[in-house]
Symmetry: C2
Subunit: 199 residues, 2 copies
Amino acid sequence: MIDEQVRERVLNAADRLYYGRGIQSVGMDELRRASGVSLKGLYGVFPSKAAIVLEVLDRRHAMWNTGVTERVARAETPRAKLLAIYDYLSDWFSDDTFRGCGFINAFAELGSISPEVAERARDHKSGFQSYVARLVADAGAHQDLAPQLSILAEGAQTTAAIAGTPEAAVHARRAAEILIDAAMIAGAASASESPLAEA
Amino acid sequence: MIDEQVRERVLNAADRLYYGRGIQSVGMDELRRASGVSLKGLYGVFPSKAAIVLEVLDRRHAMWNTGVTERVARAETPRAKLLAIYDYLSDWFSDDTFRGCGFINAFAELGSISPEVAERARDHKSGFQSYVARLVADAGAHQDLAPQLSILAEGAQTTAAIAGTPEAAVHARRAAEILIDAAMIAGAASASESPLAEA
DNA sequence: TTGCTTTGAGAACGTTCGTTCTCTATAGTG
DNA sequence: CACTATAGAGAACGAACGTTCTCAAAGCAA
C-alpha cells in the first residue's frame, strides 16, 4: 500500500476515534484495527502516537477553516456572512457524531502536559478570531463585535456538546443578530465621527 | 487521623491536581504524595479513583454555586446581578491557576467513557442555566436572554482558558450589557402586551 | 513487659499502554 | 525453481496505571 493511502486511512480513523472517545482512551491497537493498517505499517509512516495526534489536529483545523469559509462565502451581505457562522454551527451540532470542539477537548485533555497540543489549540482559536475580525471589519461594524461573536460561537459549541442538543446554535445566532445591529450603529457612528474629529 | 480530615486532604489535593493537569494524567501515587495520605488510608476512605473524581466534581459544583451566588448577591439591581456573573468570571480568569471550566475539561476527557462524569457536567451546566434564567425572570427581561447570557459565560471560559488571558470576561460583559438592554425592552414590551392580549 | 490492633511505606499484582521485535507467508526477480 | 525483500500478525518489552498485599513500626490495653 502506498504511503499516502496509509496516512489517509490512519488519520481518518484516528480523527474519528480521538474525537469520539478522547485521545488518551484510544490505544494504538485500536487504531490499528480501525484503520486496517498494521502496527509496523503505522510506525513506518508516523514516528509516534503524539505525531499522529498533531496531524489529526492540523487536519481538523483545515477542515474547520474550509467548512466555515465556504458557508460564509455563500452568504451575500456582510451581516449575513457573520450570521452564517452560526448556521454552520447549527448543522454541525445536529450531526450525531458531534462531541464539541476537538481543540477544546484536546486542550482539556492534553493542554497542560503537551505544549504542542496547547499551541495547536491556541492557533486554531486565534485564527478563528482573526477571521471573525476580518468579517466584522468588512461589515464596517465596531471592532468590539469580533470577540463578542467569537465568544458566542465558542460558548455555543461547549453548550451544545455537554447538553447533547443543538439549540445553542440558534440562541447564539439570535444574540449575534442583536450584537451585530448594535455594533453596526456604533461602527457607522465612529466611522463618521473620527474623520470629522481629525478634520 | 480522622476520616473527615483524610477526605478533606485527599479531595483538596485531587481537585488541585486533576484541575491543573487533567484527571488521567494524575495517578494515585501522585495523589498520595500530594495529600500526605497513604495508599491504604486513601482506599480506606474512597473505594476507587473514579469515586474521588466524582466527589471532586461535586465539590467544585458547590464551590462554583456559592462563589457566583455570593457575587450576584452583592449587586443591587437585577441588571447589575446579571452582569456580576461576568465580574466573577473576570476575577477567576485572573487567578493564575485558572485552566478553564473543570466540568468542560472533565467532560472532554472522560465524558464519552464515563456516564457519571458526563452526567455531572450536564447537571452543572443546566443548573447554571436555570440560575441565569431565574435572574433574567427577576429582571423582567425576555426569557431568550437567559441562554444567550449562559452561552456568553461558557464561551468566555473556554476562550480565556485557551488564550491564557482574562480579557474574554470583559468582552463577554460588554456583550451581555447590549443583550440585556435589548431583552429588557423586549421583556417590558411582551410583559405589557400579553396581559392586554388576554384581557 | 507482652500481646493485639492499627498504620504507613512501599512492594507486588494484573492490566494496559506505546513501541519494537520475531516469525511467517507472500510476492517479485533471476 | 530458488532467493530475497517486504509486510502483516501478533508476541514481547518496559513503563505506568489502579488496586491490593506484606511487613515492620508504633500505639495502646492489660
